[in-house]
């Protein structure tokens, strides 16, 4: 991954008695996807708003592209950001085209008509550009919001619950966009409480609650941190022959219900397990080290608080 695009350090902001961000620290690099995980009210939306300068923190340091978004370079920073808010924030009385043209004018997009058509085509709503947005379905609104967010080719894409309420096809479009942006060296930040959609997408996972970072890191680092052992699913032609594994010194726990679930001390012992079983004449059908899901990670982190 590239240079730091977002740097938040010790950011705190409260609304009345409610602390939305509490000593919040985050670094996001170019070419990476950062997923902010947390329940409603965890502070994910506030974090996004702080990044664009929409909300001013009372305490802490905010740097986006190396500058303070609430400072004199705020306009320049915002012109490099694409935001898909939790509510699509569209103008229902205007047509899809007029919504995009409005954004093109504010962001100073050159060759606006061509770019509008390209963006709309990319998300499959070019046929509906002439219709009023008030008549759009939820999926079409989300696609229009995505078109608007990438119209000016932003270097930082901020998505706040982008797949909430979407059909699977529209949700896939969102996830494909995130992948594509990261591949092109852009930084992506996605807020979600849907753990499944973040699976396999996140370069960095930040688990939040009550405005605080509970844990942050790559999915792999966090998995190792919370599950230093590894669980392997093993199946054989004669499953009963697997029972000998329970006595192996590097096996922590053994359980068989059809196939066997074997917990090893660490990942390096997977090869030892296979070697030993093959040497004992066990004909293996399946050996699958199991990686914990983000969901498991999330609940484990919250449980251990």
């Amino acid at each position: 991954m590239g240079d730091a695009v977002i740097e938040l350090a010790g950011v705190t902001r409260a609304f009345g008695d409610v602390v939305a961000l509490d000593d919040f620290t985050l670094t996001v690099r170019a070419g990476g996807v950062t997923v902010l995980l947390g329940p409603n009210g965890a502070g994910k939306t506030t974090a996004v708003r702080v990044v664009t300068g929409g909300i001013v923190p009372k305490v802490g340091m905010v740097r986006v592209f190396g500058h303070d978004p609430c400072g004199p370079r705020g306009e320049w920073i915002r012109s490099r950001c694409g935001v898909v808010p939790a509510r699509p924030a569209l103008y229902d009385r205007l047509s899809g085209y007029e919504n995009l043209r409005y954004a093109a004018e504010l962001y100073g997009v050159p060759d606006a008509p061509g770019r509008i058509q390209d963006a709309a085509r990319r998300f499959g709503i070019d046929h509906a550009l002439g219709q009023r947005v008030g008549g759009y379905s939820t999926g079409m609104r989300a696609r229009l919001a995505l078109s608007r967010a990438v119209l000016h080719d932003p270097d930082l894409l901020l998505l706040d619950e982008p797949t909430a309420g979407l059909d699977p096809e529209s949700a896939r479009v969102v996830l494909a966009l995130i992948d594509e942006m990261a591949e092109h060296g852009k930084a992506v930040v996605m807020c979600t409480h849907l753990l499944l959609e973040a699976e396999g997408l996140a370069d960095q996972v930040v688990v939040m609650d009550e405005g605080r970072v509970l844990v942050a890191g790559t999915a792999r680092d966090l998995t190792r941190r919370y599950w230093p052992s590894v669980t392997v699913l093993v199946d054989a032609e004669d499953p009963e022959m697997l029972d000998r594994c329970a006595a192996f010194p590097f096996v922590r726990s053994y359980e068989r219900n059809g196939a066997a679930m074997i917990e090893l001390e660490d990942r390096e012992h997977v090869a030892d397990l296979v070697d030993t079983l093959v040497a004992d004449g066990v004909r293996l059908l399946r050996v699958e080290p199991r990686t914990p899901t983000l969901e498991e990670l999330y609940f484990t982190v919250r449980k251990r608080r």
Binding site: G53, C81, P85, P88, A89, R93, L94, L106, G108, R132
Partner: protein, 272 residues
């Protein structure tokens, strides 16, 4: 300030207004009623009045008009003199009422409408400065009001001249003082009202609250506009010049204050 972005905000708001038939159809009916129907009916009724007692009272009213006008109307029948008086001095100030109603309705919904629709978030994250956004919304609220004022004056003049001037010596309305009022007093009063209401709209939490507050602001300004128009039309134009100058200053201050105190958190519905 970025003129392109100010224009973009203003045009987007005006386009939305154009698509809001539920907003402009009732207001168009009010305008039609105030500028055409009521004056036409009243002028017709008065110009055809035959009751000698009522005519005597009307002539008494005409007798209080400025000397040049009395001389000009001296040769006309009493009912025509009365019609002219009614047209120029009693109905014409209504020209202030309709534009202020329209502009205050629009301006009350500017920011609070963005928040209620959730579209304020788009503006808050956009590169447009808060000054650009404020000015764009101010212009979008002012333009319909000014167009209504000018259009209303043209229509009203046509009605008055059709009903009254055919029975007097040439076109009598608008009078000279009216131009002072329309070009010097009306614009800043409208701008002052809109600037104040737009600022309130950025602070309140609901459209209903914004409408209530806008009424509180619009009412004294309507009364002031009415009083100035009456005073300047009955007498000399100097009160209009003075009030206009004060209104320009007040409008400039209100716009500056509104533009510089708006922040992005208000667009997001925070700190309202």
């Amino acid at each position: 300030m970025n003129a392109t972005r100010v224009n973009a905000v203003a045009r987007a708001d005006l386009r939305q207004l154009r698509e809001s038939k539920d907003f402009w159809v009732p207001l168009s009916i009010i305008a039609l009623f105030m500028f055409v129907v009521v004056p036409a009916v009243m002028l017709y009724v008065i110009s055809t009045v035959q009751d000698p007692t009522l005519l005597a009272k009307l002539v008494d009213v005409v007798g209080r008009l400025p000397e040049p006008l009395r001389v000009r109307l001296a040769g006309a029948p009493p009912e025509v003199q009365a019609s002219y008086t009614l047209a120029v001095y009693f109905f014409a100030p209504l020209v202030t009422l309709v534009p202020l109603t329209i502009s205050s309705s629009i301006s009350a919904n500017t920011f609070v409408g963005e928040r209620e629709r959730g579209s304020g978030e788009f503006l808050a994250h956009s590169p447009a400065s808060t000054v650009d956004i404020y000015l764009g919304k101010l212009i979008a609220a002012l333009i319909p009001g000014y167009f209504t004022a000018v259009g209303g004056l043209v229509v009203y003049s046509a009605v008055v001249n059709l009903v009254v001037s055919t029975r007097t010596d040439g076109v009598l309305f608008p009078t000279g003082n009216w131009w002072v009022f329309m070009l010097w007093v009306m614009p800043p009063l409208l701008a002052l009202a809109v600037a104040l209401i737009v600022s309130i709209s950025s602070r309140v939490t609901s459209g209903a609250a914004a409408q209530q507050a806008s009424s509180l602001i619009a009412l004294p300004i309507v009364i002031l506009a009415y009083a100035v128009s009456e005073k300047s039309l009955f007498g000399s134009a100097w009160p209009a010049w003075i009030v206009g100058a004060i209104a320009w200053g007040g409008a400039a201050f209100a716009i500056w204050r509104g533009a510089t105190t708006l922040d992005r958190e208000r667009l997001l519905g925070i700190g309202s």
